[in-house]
Amino acid sequence: MKFFFLLTATLTISTFTSTILAKPSKAVRIERQVKSLKEEIADLNLSIESLESLSQRLKNESEAEEENFKSRLSGLVVHLIQWPEKRWGLTASSWTELQRAHLVLENVRQSLVKSPLKMISDRELRLNEIEGLSLELQAQRKDLESKHSSLDVQLKELRRLNAKSKKPPQATIEKKKKLEVVE
């Protein structure tokens, strides 16, 4: 009977010990995960902030560039567009040279007319890219935050379990002590 009781007690102790040893390692792992998630979220926040500042800088730069283009080239563009299409170049050495000059001038005009549109579309493209990246990062942050909250819940649960599991061994010890006293 005594042997049986001792065996039972040993088994119970070993079970509780293993539980106690096992539970904290999982908790530590989750804590680590939570910690790393927090770091990731912080990193993502930083990235989002830097992207936002980059987007703002880009907007400012584009505006400045457009303003510069406008002030520098608007007069020139108007002048070139108003220039007659087939003006007689008096210093041309041949008819071919004159026709070639007309072709080149026509292309210069086209590229000048298209350049503001190209500038605007480039800006839109870059801003869209940054916005897309920012949205992606925000979605990633949300994902990590949800993961973080679920892990937080798990961690709390584990801590609660740990706290509960820590109590029974103390009771058994007290029971053991009482038994020893009785003996």
Partner: protein, 266 residues
């Protein structure tokens, strides 16, 4: 005052013959240049292509591979900018602040068979932005040839008018002498040739003046419009002299005979 009237009339007509003759020789020279030199320039088909800067090397390889291409020449954006600025000095202040990126790379290609080459070119649209098949300046040729014909007709008309008045003047002055000769049955050649020599000399001087005027005009034209002009060939002004002399002889003799027949006997 009749002598003043006569001088004004004669000098005015002579000046008109010189001016219109000069314009005719000048337009003849321009037409000759257009017909000869421009035709020589277009002996082979020429095509200008605006090449995409990123595909310049591939386009050169494409040109090297085409058997129709006899010669090609590339011009960079910067070179095109300089060419435009030199062609249009009024635009140089506008072109100067523009970066070279705005100016395309162009290629001038000489081909034996433009249709074949264009077919191949259109299948390689990734290499170029636009192209132009050069054509001779037909409109200018038509305009100059039209001007030459108009000046020729005007010159002949004024020359005829001038000679007509000269014959009238001679007939009015020497009517009695002509009548007497006619009555005596003498040959009209006795009075015709001296009068004809006189008119021929006048017309020679007028033609010289017209050629000098055209030559001066051509020199001025060459300085203003630098299009590789050839100097006025000897053939142009010598042909003009011959034409002028033959026409003078023909018109003067016709007018003289017509007027001589109308002189009354006695």
């Amino acid at each position: 005052m009749s002598w003043l009237h006569w001088i004004v009339k004669e000098a005015g007509l002579q000046i008109a013959v010189v001016l219109i003759g000069g314009f005719f020789v000048f337009s003849w020279w321009v037409l000759g240049h257009l017909d000869h030199d421009v035709a020589k320039e277009f002996s082979e088909d020429r095509i200008s292509v605006i090449v995409k800067p990123e595909n310049e090397f591939e386009f050169r390889r494409f040109l090297d591979s085409r058997p129709e291409v006899t010669r090609y020449e590339f011009q960079s954006g910067e070179a095109n900018k300089l060419t435009l600025a030199s062609l249009y000095p009024e635009l140089s202040s506008v072109l100067k602040p523009l970066e070279s990126d705005y100016f395309p790379i162009s290629a001038l290609i000489q081909v034996k068979d433009s249709a074949g080459f264009l077919g191949a070119l259109q299948s390689e649209v990734q290499f170029f932005q636009s192209y132009l098949v050069h054509t001779p300046p037909k409109e200018i040729q038509h305009f100059v040839s039209g001007s030459a014909i108009v000046f020729l007709i005007l010159w002949m008309l004024i020359l005829g008018l001038y000679l007509f008045f000269q014959v009238e003047h001679l007939a009015h002055r020497d009517e009695r002498e002509w009548s007497l000769l006619k009555m005596l049955g003498s040959s009209a050649q006795k009075i015709f040739w001296p009068a004809c020599y006189q008119q021929a000399i006048r017309m020679f001087v007028t033609s010289v003046l017209a050629v000098l005027l055209a030559y001066w005009g051509a020199l001025q034209f060459e300085t203003v419009f630098q299009w590789g002009w050839n100097p006025m060939a000897v053939s142009i002004w010598s042909q003009f002299f011959i034409l002028s002399m033959l026409l003078t002889l023909a018109l003067f003799s016709s007018f003289f005979l017509w007027r001589y027949r109308r002189v009354k006997l006695g």
